[in-house]
């Protein structure tokens, strides 16, 4: 069973790492494209006509949704964790089981509606009109992929926490408390 926890963890980390790489690339593109747009506007009075749509439709959703699972894995999402200082490890495991399970349901629902929307938009060939015709389905597809990844990660963690509580053998550790996490993040 412990091996299963390790396999799950490694599998998620590999996919999240690749997904985060794409999000990081989207971040770099935003910096370059938005800066170039400003410079073209003020120096040559010739701004790009496609910057806003590219960034708004694809790049920002890519950063948000392709990094969301990695952020969850790194315990980077802000939580009010004061109660965690005062309860036993077993009680902490219970609280995280509930939050992981609810998170899985929430993001599975988002992935579902996003996938449906992406499919509809793809089939009907929806575009954002302008000088360039921007297909809108990739935005919804990005949301669906990122949410599905997070939903699966949360479900996997919930399963391992339930197993830990049931068998008494720790399959998944407790997240560090916020102060430890922030310190470690900053110290890197």
């Amino acid at each position: 069973m412990k091996a299963l926890g390790g396999v799950l963890q490694r599998g998620f980390l590999a996919i999240e790492s690749a997904s985060l790489f794409v999000a990081a690339f989207a971040m770099l593109l935003i910096m370059l494209v938005a800066s170039a747009d400003v410079l073209m506007r003020y120096m040559f009075n010739a701004p790009f006509t496609w910057t806003h749509e590219l960034i708004r439709l694809y790049l920002v959703p890519a950063i948000v949704y392709l990094a969301v699972s990695a952020a969850f894995a790194a315990n980077a999402h802000i939580a009010v964790d004061i109660i965690q200082y005062y309860i036993s490890d077993r009680a902490r495991q219970w609280t995280y089981l509930v939050t992981d399970a609810l998170g899985a349901v929430l993001f599975a629902a988002i992935a579902w509606v996003a996938a449906e929307r992406a499919y509809d938009e793809y089939v009907s060939g929806d575009v954002l009109s302008g000088i360039i015709l921007w297909h809108v389905w990739p935005s919804s597809a990005i949301v669906a992929f990122g949410s599905l990844l997070l939903g699966l990660r949360a479900a996997g963690q919930a399963f391992l926490r339930a197993t830990s509580l049931g068998t008494g053998v720790e399959q998944i550790g407790l997240p560090p408390l916020a102060v430890e996490e922030d310190f470690e993040t900053e110290a890197r």
């Binding site: 770099l28 800066s35 959703p61 004061i82 310190f183």
Partner: protein, 427 residues
């Protein structure tokens, strides 16, 4: 009844440490389900999953975060304290004051307080302790100086407030400048007061020759350029905060490259960290958006505005009570969580009382600064304690005089709204 259930679900989930973004989204979905069944809940989910994050203005957040990452990579920030200390180290409490100045300087190119506290902890704290400063006093001034990053542009807190409150982000960022001067002077005055009471707490630093002072100052000149690029562009109206943020990130990248600190590893590390930070903040806005849909249906905000409007007390009493509640919340909750949970409800009340939302935003950020250095979850104190190896109680003790001083500064900013509103009025 529905309102009660939504609030119970929200606070229940927050209590068991569910991420704030997820808690708000789940309680919002529960509320929408109660109002209009599965169809309404799914329809809002479909609408908000993209509409909450597909605004062009949102790129201000990732670009400010990225700029801070590249500034840290460049190592320029490390020179700030040495430059400030060279100039005022011979004044009683000079190194403490230099810490406040470097906190302000670092805040001028970095939008988050924890990064600022971490950087100051590794530069100014060891220097003060080596000089014979009382450890708790040194740790306290480092913790409080780190908070200045929230107030000085580029401030991520102001951007988030602006998005939640639908207030001009450019004006908000500029509004933070004069209050930041007030708070910096407050920190320096507190250090001076503590040293005046007991000079042995802070021995004088050694003399630094004039040539060395100028050499150190030249090292930090790029940071001044970076600050001038961002703030100057926004204030003059030449560019929007979004454009200024992108240019700021690019300038920080070029500065790091100029100092030969850019390689594949450092660039990827900075991009990844900024992406994770962005995702975390924007998912909070997504959760807040879902929650708002349900909350608007409850009409609680309108009822609250009417209730407060009917109260037979001065509006100043109400604003003081609101600020006191924020100070108490700051002791227990993360500042970003406080923003998203309270702004949609409290801002309409504040505006209905005739107060300016920009001024309220500034006060909110100053109360948030206090929350960063008050027990039990004052995150800046924890960061300083870990870096310095000092007991956390000692750091909180050292920060306590600054908590009192900050509250005095908050009172000044509350009593004189012009301090916050003068610069935005000139834009």
């Amino acid at each position: 009844m529905t309102t009660l259930i939504i609030m119970l679900v929200l606070f229940g989930l927050l209590c068991i440490s569910m991420p704030v973004s997820f808690s708000m989204a789940v309680s919002g979905v529960v509320g929408l389900f109660m109002f209009g069944g599965v169809d309404m809940a799914m329809s809002v989910l479909t609408r908000t999953m993209l509409s909450a994050v597909d605004k062009y203005e949102l790129i201000t957040i990732p670009m400010f975060l990225l700029m801070a990452e590249f500034v840290i990579v460049s190592g320029i920030a490390d020179s700030l304290f040495r430059a400030a200390a060279a100039w005022i180290g011979r004044v009683p409490g000079g190194l403490g004051m230099a810490t406040a100045l470097s906190g302000a300087g670092f805040g001028a190119v970095c939008g988050t307080s924890s990064a600022s506290a971490a950087t100051l902890s590794s530069t100014s704290l060891p220097a003060m302790i080596r000089q014979g400063y009382e450890p708790s006093m040194a740790a306290g001034v480092v913790a409080v100086s780190g908070t200045l990053a929230m107030l000085i542009p580029p401030s991520v807190a102001f951007v988030v407030f602006g998005l939640l409150a639908e207030v001009s982000i450019g004006k908000l960022l500029i509004a933070g400048i004069l209050p930041a001067v007030v708070v910096t002077i407050t920190i320096m005055s507190t250090v001076a007061f503590l040293v005046w009471r007991d000079p042995s707490r802070a021995p004088l630093a050694p003399h630094v020759p004039m040539s060395e002072r100028w050499a150190l100052t030249k090292e930090v000149a790029p940071m001044v350029i970076l600050f001038a690029v961002i703030t100057g562009l926004i204030y003059s109206g030449i560019s929007t905060p979004t454009e200024a943020a992108a240019l700021g990130a690019l300038t920080a990248f070029l500065l790091a490259a100029w100092r030969r600190k850019i390689n594949r590893k450092t660039t990827l590390h900075a991009l990844r960290r900024a992406a994770i930070g962005t995702s975390m903040i924007l998912i909070i806005l997504l959760g807040a958006s879902m929650f708002s849909y349900a909350f608007v249906l409850t009409r609680v905000t309108q009822d609250l505005v009417m209730f407060v409007g009917d109260l037979d007390v001065s509006r100043w009493v109400i604003i003081v009570i609101i600020l006191c509640i924020y100070l108490i919340l700051g002791c227990f909750m993360d500042q970003m969580a406080i923003l998203v949970l309270t702004v949609p409800v409290v801002l309409p009340v504040v505006v209905s009382l005739g107060f300016d939302p920009i001024w309220y935003g500034v006060l909110l950020v100053v109360t948030a600064e206090v929350g960063l250095i008050t027990p039990p979850v004052g995150i800046n104190c924890f960061i300083v304690a870990r870096y310095s190896g000092r007991p956390i109680g000692e750091v909180f003790r050292g920060a306590f005089p600054h908590v009192i001083a900050h509250i005095i500064a908050l009172a000044i900013l509350t009593a004189f709204p012009i301090i916050s509103l003068y610069l935005p009025s000139k834009m």
